[in-house]
Amino acid sequence: MRRAVVSSAATAAGIVLLLSLKPHGGAGAAPVISSGGTGGATDTSSGSSSGSAGSSGSSGSSGSSSTRTVTGDAANTRYGPVQVKVTLDGSRITNVDVIQYPSNDHRDQEINSYALPLLNQEAIAAQSAQIDVVSGATYTSAGYTRSLQSALDKAGR
């Protein structure tokens, strides 16, 4: 089993993004990819071991009162379903967990291990004003963006 920890920091603002990736065989319910935590405001990456993958809507986490998590719809792709859970502090995304993703074969895992963290980086970095877009990430997951969009729609953001 492979474990990769990818971290990036922008020195200018002192903001640290931490992406961790723990591929499992099969679509897992636990968060397999977690990214986020800006300025130490939130840390939910280890808080959802029960992982209700099918649920949607808001569930308050025991942090500051403005922190909430919203689970996006599972988006079907030709590789299988992709589903994300977004943590928001107010209207700001602080964390995106990929709670379901296709990993039926090695190639899919390669694609996911590459594309999903990049997308996470885009989603979170986009608001830290560090990175607006990534060039070279061609195999982006349509499922990720759809699930993320549905989560943000539910969050009313």
């Binding site: 990818v6 920091a9 922008a10 990175i131 990534v134 997951s141």
Partner: protein, 262 residues
């Protein structure tokens, strides 16, 4: 402050994404129209669809006169790019008619043009990792071809076009038009086009220059006005043209990610 309007549309076998910093009341509808336009371009130009104009033209079932009126213009553009790159670009990679090397960048440019026509002056359009920005500055990360999830560089500027060809995600998919074999020598090549260059040319040039290999690609980009290059070699070494550093944001080192290690 107006929030950035973001949208993603799966089309052409990849994902197009849009970020509009100055959205108006009609922007959402404009994005709907852009999505329709992109699907229409795919229907006409995709070599993977047997019923596309391009496939039917290639099989001799359709004359050029009977094709969508944009087909002759696209094929003419492909010939221009072939001439500009000393024959390192071809609309027949692998033998079959396949102008995708021009069409995707052109589609991104069309989308940006439609946003401009709707009044937007601050937007960013990405077609599967090839990017056209308007206004700005925008910060564009360049995916590291050898370190998944990391960035090889961060580029910044106004009105830039950024395209990357690489082997990381799709394997060796760029063919050397002179030998018909997969191009080697580069892990990835990124070209940055000035505001006057546009993503259609920048993207097609990137495909051609990737096939050239590092030495020829960098020399070619250095000679050509309006474009700069960043090459990542298979051993991780980076090389770039003299003008590239003016596209690096003041606070953004070329090696953005190792800062986390400290």
């Amino acid at each position: 402050m107006t929030p950035v309007l973001r949208r993603a549309e799966p089309v052409m076998g990849t994902v197009f994404s849009f970020a509009v910093r100055d959205p108006g009341p009609d922007t959402a509808q404009v994005l709907d129209r852009i999505a329709e336009r992109l699907h229409r371009i795919d229907a006409v130009f995709s070599p993977y669809r047997t019923d596309s104009d391009i496939s039917r033209l290639d099989r001799g079932e359709l004359g050029l006169d009977a094709c969508d009126p944009q087909v002759p213009a696209v094929l003419a553009a492909c010939r221009e790019v072939a001439a500009e790159t000393d024959g390192w670009f071809t609309e027949r990679p692998g033998g079959r008619l396949d102008p995708s090397g021009w069409v995707k960048g052109w589609a991104i440019e069309e989308a940006a043009r439609m946003l401009h026509a709707s009044g937007s002056r601050e937007h960013c359009v990405s077609g599967g990792g090839d990017v056209q920005t308007a206004g700005g500055p925008w910060r564009v990360g360049v995916a590291h071809p050898l370190r998944p999830g990391r960035l090889a560089a961060v580029l910044g500027g106004r009105g830039l076009a950024v395209a990357t060809s690489g082997t990381a995600e799709r394997g060796a998919h760029v063919v050397d038009p002179h030998t018909g074999r997969p191009a080697g020598g580069l892990a990835s090549l990124t070209l940055v086009g000035d505001p006057g260059t546009g993503i259609a040319r920048t993207d097609a040039w990137t495909t051609a220059a990737f096939a050239m290999g590092p030495d020829r690609a960098l020399a070619w980009a250095a000679r050509r006005p309006g474009v700069e290059a960043l090459a990542v070699l298979p051993d991780g070494t980076k090389r770039w043209t003299d003008g590239l550093p003016r596209h690096l944001p003041p606070a953004g080192p070329a090696d953005w990610h190792p800062a986390a290690a400290s």
